[in-house]
C-alpha cells in the first residue's frame, strides 16, 4: 500500500512537473506569437496584465470585400471600448502582403488602432483563426475568451442583413469586462479564407 502511494505520488508530481514545463513552453510560444510588426516596421507586443482589461484582435486582408465593409464598425468598436480599457489591433493575415500595401490600405480605411502584419500567421494559428474578418478577444493573460464574427450582418456570401440582430463581439466584450463567461465563445465567420499557403495546412 505504501509502495503504491509512493508510486502514485511520483506519478502525480512527475506529471505535474511535465505539465508545468509544457505550460511554460506553451506560454513562451504564445508570448512569441504575440509580438508582431506594425505597418511602420516597429515590433509590437500585445499588452498584458496591468496594461489593459482585454485585447481584441481582428484579422483582415487588404482585398476581402467583407472585411473591408466592416471597417466603419471596427472603428466604432475601437472608439467605444477604448474608454473601457480594451486594446484593439487589426492584423493583416496575409503571407505575401507588402508593408507598403498594408500601410496604404490602413490609411485609406482610417484604422485608429495598432495595425499589424502577421506574414507567418503565428498569431492567426495561436488563436485558431481561419477567416477574415475574424475577431478574437483575449484576456490580459492571453486566454482566448471569444473567437468568431463581429456580428451577424452577413448571412452568406452576397447576402447581407439590413438590420444586425446579434452583436457577437460586443456581447463577448461586455461579458469579459464584467468578469462573466462569454455566452457564445465561438461563432462562425462569413468572410474570406485565410491563405495558409500552397499546402493549405492550418497548423
Amino acid at each position: 500500500m505504501r509502495r503504491f502511494l509512493r508510486l502514485l505520488i511520483t506519478v502525480v508530481v512527475g506529471s505535474g512537473l511535465v505539465w508545468q514545463i509544457h505550460a511554460q513552453d506553451d506560454q513562451a510560444k504564445t508570448r512569441d506569437a504575440e509580438v508582431l510588426t506594425d505597418v511602420s516596421g516597429k515590433p509590437y507586443r500585445l499588452p498584458g496584465p496591468g496594461e489593459c482589461q482585454a485585447v481584441v484582435v481582428i484579422f483582415l486582408s487588404h482585398d476581402c470585400p467583407i472585411a473591408n465593409a466592416y471597417a466603419p464598425e471596427i472603428k466604432r468598436l475601437c472608439q467605444v471600448y477604448k474608454q473601457r480599457g480594451v486594446v484593439f489591433c487589426v492584423v493583416y493575415a496575409e503571407r505575401d502582403l507588402s508593408r507598403e500595401t498594408a500601410k496604404k490600405h490602413a490609411q485609406e480605411y482610417g484604422y485608429c488602432c495598432p495595425v499589424l502584419l502577421d506574414p507567418e500567421l503565428k498569431l492567426v494559428r495561436r488563436v485558431g483563426a481561419t477567416k477574415v474578418p475574424e475577431a478574437a478577444v483575449l484576456s490580459p493573460r492571453g486566454d482566448l475568451l471569444y473567437r468568431g464574427r463581429i456580428d451577424d450582418r452577413y448571412v452568406d456570401y452576397g447576402q447581407r442583413r439590413s438590420v444586425v440582430r446579434s452583436q457577437d463581439l460586443r456581447d463577448a466584450l461586455d461579458a469579459a469586462l464584467s468578469g462573466k463567461p462569454v455566452a457564445r465563445p465561438r461563432t462562425e465567420v462569413i468572410g474570406c479564407d485565410i491563405d495558409f499557403g500552397p499546402t493549405g495546412q492550418h497548423r
Binding site: 482585398d63 464598425e73 485609406e108 480605411y109 452576397g158 447581407r160 442583413r161 438590420v163 474570406c192
Partner: protein, 449 residues
C-alpha cells in the same frame, strides 16, 4: 517492407496520371474560365473587390472560388433559365464549376505556363474615340463608407434646339471601383429637373427609380462592356427629341471607405434618322400594403399590346423584401411564353436583361407580371426587425414593383399608339392603387367604430 513497396508501386501510377491529365491546372483549365467570366469585373481598378488575373490571385482563394461558384453567388446572374436566352448572361456551366472544384481539391496546381492563354484586354477611356459631345456630372458625388447600396439620378440637361440622332453612347465613371452600373434615361417631361431642384441641385437620390415614365434609354455602363456603334443598322440609333434631358442613374456599392465618382457620358451623333425608335412597356402594381409576417404577398399587373411589338430587353424592380418576379406573355392563340423569372430577387443585382434574339409579340398579347414579397423575420434583407407593415413608396424601406420591357413597334407608324397606350396604362396603375388605398382607409375607419 515488401508490402509497403508494393503499395508504393501501386499508388505511384495513379498519382502520376492525376498530375498529367486528371487534375485541372490553372494555366490550362482554370484561367480560360476566369478570363471569360470573371476578369471583366475582377481586375485592378474595377468593381470586383480583388483581381482574378494571375495564378496567385486564384490560388490563394481557390476553395472559396469553387464554393461561391457552386452556390451560383458568382458570377452574379439572377434570371432562371427560360425559353429565351440573354446576351448579357453571366453564368458558368456545371462542367466549369466542376473544374474549379477539382482544381481546388487537387491543391490548385499551376500547370504548364505554355498552356496559359493571354489575359483578356479591355479598352480604356472612350471606346470609339473622342465623342461628339461629353456631358459631365457637375460635382464629384460622395459614396459613404457604409450603408445600403445607392441609386442616384444625375440630371444632365441637353437644351437641344432640334432633334438629334445618337448612334453610340458610353457612360464613363471616374471611379469604377464603386460603380455597379449606370443607365442614361431620357426624360421629356421636365420631372427630373424638378426633382433635382427640390433636392437642391443636379441630382436626386431616388431609390425607387427615376420618378417619371422614361421616354427611352441610352446604352449604359456595365463593367467590361464594349460600346457599340449602331450606325450600321436601320433602327438601332436613338432619337433625342429636342427638350429631352438625360438622367443618368448610377448604382453605387459602399466599400468600407468613402469614395467619390464623377461620371461622364459620351455621345456620338449621326445625321441618319432611325427608322424606328425604342419604345417601352411599363407594368407595375402600386397597391402594396404588406403585413408583418406575410411570407408571400403577391401583386400582379397586365398590359395588352395594342400593336405588334418586337421585344428586346427587360428590367424588373422591387426593393429589399422583394422575393420573386415572374413575367410571361399570353399570345392571342392561347400560347404562353415565359419572358423572365427571377426566383431569388436581390435588389443589389437588378439590371437590364437583353434577349439574345429579339422576338415579336403580336397585337392582342397580354403581358403579365407577378411580384412576390417576403415580410417575415426569416428574410435577412428585411429592413425592419421585428417586421413592420411595409407600404408602397420610393424610400429604401418602402416597397415598389416595376417592370419595363424595351423594344420597337414592328411598324414605325405604330409608335404613337404604343406610347399613348403605355401612358394610359400608367394612369390605370395609379387609379387602382388610389382606390385600394381609399378602400383600406374606409375599412380601417369602420373597423374603429
Amino acid at each position: 517492407m515488401w508490402t509497403l513497396l508494393m503499395l508504393g508501386a501501386m499508388a505511384a501510377p495513379g498519382l502520376e496520371a492525376r498530375q498529367q491529365g486528371g487534375a485541372p491546372t490553372f494555366c490550362r483549365d482554370v484561367a480560360p474560365i476566369l478570363f471569360n467570366n470573371c476578369t471583366s469585373c475582377h481586375r485592378p481598378g474595377e468593381v470586383g473587390p480583388f483581381p482574378l488575373v494571375t495564378y496567385e490571385d486564384a490560388r490563394k482563394r481557390a476553395r472559396q472560388l469553387a464554393r461561391i461558384c457552386e452556390k451560383r453567388i458568382m458570377p452574379p446572374w439572377k434570371p432562371a433559365a427560360g425559353p429565351e436566352t440573354f446576351k448579357n448572361a453571366r453564368m458558368l456551366t456545371n462542367e466549369q464549376i466542376a473544374v474549379l472544384k477539382a482544381w481546388a481539391e487537387a491543391g490548385a496546381p499551376k500547370g504548364d505556363e505554355a498552356d496559359l492563354p493571354p489575359p483578356p484586354k479591355f479598352p480604356e477611356g472612350w471606346h470609339l474615340g473622342e465623342p461628339d459631345l461629353i456631358l459631365t456630372v457637375p460635382k464629384p458625388f460622395v459614396i459613404p463608407a457604409e450603408g445600403p447600396d445607392i441609386y442616384v439620378h444625375f440630371v444632365l440637361p441637353l437644351n437641344f434646339k432640334e432633334d438629334k440622332y445618337v448612334r453610340a453612347c458610353q457612360v464613363l465613371p471616374s471611379n469604377r471601383r464603386v460603380a455597379h452600373h449606370g443607365v442614361p434615361i431620357l426624360d421629356g417631361s421636365g420631372t427630373a429637373r424638378r426633382l433635382a431642384a427640390k433636392h437642391g441641385g443636379d441630382h436626386y437620390p431616388n431609390f425607387g427609380g427615376p420618378g417619371f415614365i422614361p421616354r427611352g434609354f441610352l446604352p449604359g455602363y456595365a463593367p467590361g462592356q464594349l460600346t457599340k456603334d449602331a450606325d450600321e443598322s436601320d433602327d438601332r440609333g436613338i432619337t433625342l427629341p429636342k427638350g429631352t434631358d438625360i438622367v443618368l442613374q448610377m448604382h453605387y456599392h459602399p466599400t468600407g471607405k468613402e469614395e467619390t465618382d464623377q461620371p461622364r457620358i459620351g455621345l456620338y451623333f449621326t445625321d441618319r434618322k432611325p427608322k424606328r425608335n425604342p419604345c417601352i412597356i411599363a407594368l407595375a402594381n402600386n397597391d402594396i400594403y404588406i403585413p408583418p409576417g406575410e411570407k408571400a404577398f403577391r401583386r400582379s399587373d397586365a398590359f395588352r399590346l395594342p400593336v405588334d411589338f418586337e421585344v428586346r430587353d427587360i428590367w424588373a424592380h422591387m426593393h429589399m423584401i422583394g422575393r420573386e418576379v415572374r413575367v410571361w406573355a399570353e399570345l392571342p392563340d392561347g400560347k404562353r411564353k415565359e419572358l423572365l423569372h427571377i426566383p431569388d430577387w436581390d435588389f443589389n443585382w437588378q439590371e437590364s436583361y437583353f434577349y439574345t434574339e429579339p422576338f415579336v409579340l403580336p397585337k392582342g398579347t397580354w403581358i403579365r407580371a407577378e411580384f412576390v414579397w417576403d415580410n417575415t423575420a426569416d428574410n435577412p434583407r428585411n429592413p425592419n426587425h421585428p417586421p413592420k407593415f411595409i407600404e408602397w413608396g420610393e424610400g429604401s424601406t418602402d416597397e415598389m414593383s416595376g417592370l419595363i420591357i424595351g423594344g420597337v413597334t414592328v411598324r414605325p407608324q405604330d409608335e404613337l399608339v404604343m406610347w399613348a397606350s403605355v401612358i394610359g396604362h400608367y394612369f390605370e396603375i395609379e387609379n387602382k392603387a388610389n382606390e385600394a388605398r381609399k378602400r383600406r382607409e374606409q375599412n380601417r375607419a369602420s373597423g374603429r367604430r
